[in-house]
């Protein structure tokens, strides 16, 4: 039994402490907000100038001027604030955001991350705020499937896709396991129920201690 995307997000949420300022990437990482452990409060940051972001509101309460970095309608939690883009990225780059949860194409054993471009010739390059987030947020977590749709490992010795940042990833939450990135490489922290460590190692293209 591997973890579902919801369970992966819930597992990542367990490793974020009460009171943390958190930025969630678009897609699977956004689900972390649905699984905040009992008794904890996170303050969510959105790159487009919002702290204290709340969940998607009912259709009738949406305002097209109140959106998140994924351009979806959101709401405001008590204590929210607005600010311009340079202040927003000062929060990111200046080390004021505690945790960022992102998706990944590849993570290398030294913590290098590739998650913005496949480098394909006809691809239109688009980076958004990913490089700023990994360069500035104190702790970077990755939520991703352990392998690609074609079964290729995403945890690798060296990234082959263009990099987003060097040595930035601290932990990876996959459908099979939780993997820490330590100074000497990947370390298996925990496996999903019924998943053997050997299976995780087989699907990891780098040594897994």
């Amino acid at each position: 039994m591997s973890w579902t995307p919801d369970e992966m997000a819930a597992r990542a949420a367990l490793d974020i402490p009460n009171g943390a300022y958190v930025n969630l990437g678009i897609g699977m990482p956004e689900r972390v907000a649905d699984f905040v452990p009992e008794g904890r409060t996170f303050v969510y940051h959105s790159e487009n100038g919002l702290l204290g972001m709340g969940p998607e509101p009912a259709e009738t309460e949406r305002d097209p001027d109140l959106i998140n970095a994924g351009k979806k309608p959101v709401s405001l939690n008590p204590g929210a604030s607005f600010f311009h883009h340079a202040d927003s990225f000062a929060m990111i780059r200046g080390g004021h955001i505690d945790y960022c949860v992102l998706g990944a194409m590849q993570v290398a054993q030294n913590g290098d991350l590739a998650n913005w471009s496949t480098g394909a010739e006809d691809a239109i390059p688009a980076v958004g705020g990913a490089m700023d987030l990994v360069a500035g947020v104190k702790t970077i977590y990755i939520v991703t499937r352990h392998t690609t749709k074609d079964g290729e490992p995403k945890l690798v010795e060296t990234c082959t896709y263009p990099l987003t940042g060097l040595g930035v990833v601290k932990r990876i939450y996959t459908d099979l396991a939780v993997v820490a990135v330590l100074e000497n490489g990947f370390k298996l922290v925990e496996t999903a129920p019924g998943v053997a460590a050997d299976e995780v190692r087989k699907k990891t293209a780098a040594p897994l201690a």
Partner: protein, 236 residues
């Protein structure tokens, strides 16, 4: 007496020259100055370089300016978004240039321009293809890449409330790039839903001080790009 108001969006963009660099506020549809963009299409300036986080949505506003063939180059962080159809086609056909800039670097380059700082060092993009060929320097044992300021000839801004001095308030996340684009441009042009007398806005709540604003136009019922996209409208 100071009065920066002009009668129409057409008047406000009338002197835009070919080859100008235009900073266009907005993040997705929020804060997009639709009426000013459409006026710029009517005005006809060509070979523009446009700065925006994205590269237009649907076939209105910035996307229609791009579709009209007036934009030679886009400087943005994320040109590939849902509903972005015009830019990808022109880019693949080799008809428009693209400079991709990390979002925070884009913001800081605009802020630096407004603050009179010609370049700065940032940790963002170090070791990635976006730092290729750029000067790097170590500070306290860590490597940073140098990025230049990003100045604009004009900025097109959407505000919620302006006074006649150009003091501005925005609406929620429609603020996004607007305050730093106001600072970065030689001529800052603002469309405001409401224009009030000086003194009507509490000085404690002014977001953009009027010194960064040159022209203000009253657009009382602005089209929201989000509504235009939902209705699948196109301009002209």
């Amino acid at each position: 007496m100071i009065d920066k108001t002009l009668a129409s969006v057409a008047d406000a963009v009338a002197d835009t020259e070919d080859g100008a660099t235009v900073a266009v506020a907005g993040f997705g549809a929020a804060g997009s100055p639709v009426e000013l963009l459409h006026a710029l299409i009517e005005q006809g300036a060509k070979k523009l370089t446009v700065i925006n986080n994205n590269a237009g949505n649907g076939k209105v506003g910035l996307a229609s300016l791009i579709a009209s063939g007036r934009v030679a180059k886009m400087i943005c962080s994320f040109p590939r978004s849902a509903g972005s159809v015009v830019f990808p086609d022109l880019y693949r056909a080799g008809k428009i240039d693209l400079e991709v800039v990390p979002q925070g670097t884009l913001a800081e380059r605009l802020r630096a321009a407004g603050a009179g700082i010609p370049a700065f060092y940032t940790p963002t993009s170090v070791g990635t293809p976006l730092a290729d060929g750029k000067e790097t320097r170590d500070f306290d044992g860590k490597t940073y890449v140098m990025e230049p300021w990003l100045r604009a000839d004009i900025a097109l801004i959407k505000a919620d409330v302006a006074d006649t001095h150009g003091n501005l308030i925005y609406n929620m996340t429609a603020r996004n790039f607007a305050p730093i684009m106001c600072m970065a441009a030689t001529t800052t042009i603002v469309q405001a839903r409401e224009i009030v007398d000086p003194g009507s806005i509490n000085p404690e709540t002014v977001v953009t001080p009027g010194i960064f604003v040159d022209r203000v136009i009253h657009v009382p019922n602005p089209e929201h790009e989000d509504d235009l996209l939902r209705a699948a409208r196109s301009y002209p």
